[in-house]
Symmetry: C3
Subunit: 208 residues, 3 copies
Amino acid sequence: MSRIKLSTEKVVLIADLVGMSVFAAEGALSAISAHFNLMGVMAIAFITALGGGIIRDLLLGVAPPAALTDRRYASLTFVIGLLTFIFFTLLQKIPTDLILLIDAAGLSFFVVAGVEKAILFRVWPFVAVLLGTVTGVGGGVIRDLLLGRAPLALQTDNYASSVFFAAAVVLIGRRLGLSDGAAGLIGGLTCFTLRLVAILFGWHSLKI
Amino acid sequence: MSRIKLSTEKVVLIADLVGMSVFAAEGALSAISAHFNLMGVMAIAFITALGGGIIRDLLLGVAPPAALTDRRYASLTFVIGLLTFIFFTLLQKIPTDLILLIDAAGLSFFVVAGVEKAILFRVWPFVAVLLGTVTGVGGGVIRDLLLGRAPLALQTDNYASSVFFAAAVVLIGRRLGLSDGAAGLIGGLTCFTLRLVAILFGWHSLKI
Amino acid sequence: MSRIKLSTEKVVLIADLVGMSVFAAEGALSAISAHFNLMGVMAIAFITALGGGIIRDLLLGVAPPAALTDRRYASLTFVIGLLTFIFFTLLQKIPTDLILLIDAAGLSFFVVAGVEKAILFRVWPFVAVLLGTVTGVGGGVIRDLLLGRAPLALQTDNYASSVFFAAAVVLIGRRLGLSDGAAGLIGGLTCFTLRLVAILFGWHSLKI
């Protein structure tokens, strides 16, 4: 039992780190495009990846937030910011749709982790869904503010609503008696599928 | 006595919910005008109505903030965001001056509630006034940031100063021995009157 | 011994208040240029000077933050905001390079104070450096957001990196066995020198 539990935790951790890395690289790319300096690029990488989780933690009363107490998080995002800065011309060639796809995967991991953490604090389910959404979307929104552009997640296609629905699915799955892992898996797949459909069919006019 | 106290609390609660609803609808209207998606509109409704209170609570060390622990608050703002989204064409026809008037009323309730809460935490009076101002103005400022425009409350006419003076009036009233209710009422009326004068006389050049 | 310790504390306090005053005046000047009203100008003065410290305190779990519990801080920034508003035409004549120089001095004090506070909370050294950087740069970034412009500290020349390196120097100095005062002094001088070089040689293209 204990060995299986450890494995689940490891899966969640790896998922979390993968999602984080994707978001950090995306943030760094957009900061370089906006002519930020190296420190600015690393700061945006950090904020894009960890901003949502930091807001969630502060709202839950967790201070210092996990983003600052877990040594892997901050250092990982700074290293990714640096690597993106160095290999910018290379990374720039990645097609937009592939980036959107990787982003969808990262997002799916993030929303599940966000809801799970909110549930641990026994907040009202609707608030848990909100905090899960904030975890997934918050970092990108702060990045957009710092880059001086409207927050894409709140403006275009189904980005925020995919996160919201996925968070709700995790909650409902648990209520229906699913295991934590199963509920998380279905929630993550919901998020990924909704984003995938929007990317494939170019649902930019579907503003929900 | 107890019955009267309950009534006062009910009045404050109703006032708070009315102010919140007004701010949520205003936020939703501006988010729709800025082409936000449905989730974005609901998020802006939530933030406009509750952002100021959330900042105040976090600064006072209250986490999770009341906006997340009281079930009425978050759900009310999301429902109002949804309704505003549905009835947008209808609501759009409301004349600007009427919106400003309703906003002034909402603002007056908010600043009083903000000061009262700060006083409960026994902070320095000047800081209580500041936190009252933040409660009234903060949500609108975050909304303006997310919509990519300069914060109106800090830029035009007497918006922020009306809130500041009203908050000061509440504090001074209590110092002079007025009851909580009377001090709150006079403070609220001060805010409403200052805003009313600015709206009626078009004091947009009076930058205080 | 106790007398010397007191003196050190007084030096830190004076340094802190000087840095704060410089930042508050700078913030007020840019808010007036952006046509903010008087309350907006005072708010921007407050946020520019104390925003970085407030973020650091909230991230460390210190609420209410020092900016609100120490009566000198909030009142000083508001008075400076008011004075800047009154003497704007006079202050506008100060040459840009002198402002940059005074800013460099203020920044140097701020970053040292920020790191020292983070160290007190026994966070991981890298996080202490990050929090020191946030203390120095955070207020200016929020000001830039509220004024609707890209955050200069993250975009141009060596602003953020000067702060980051200086914060690292303080940490490394202490590890090497230097006294708190000596490590702080060397760190502050590092920040000031790096900024001075950038200002004198116009290193605006050196984006690190």
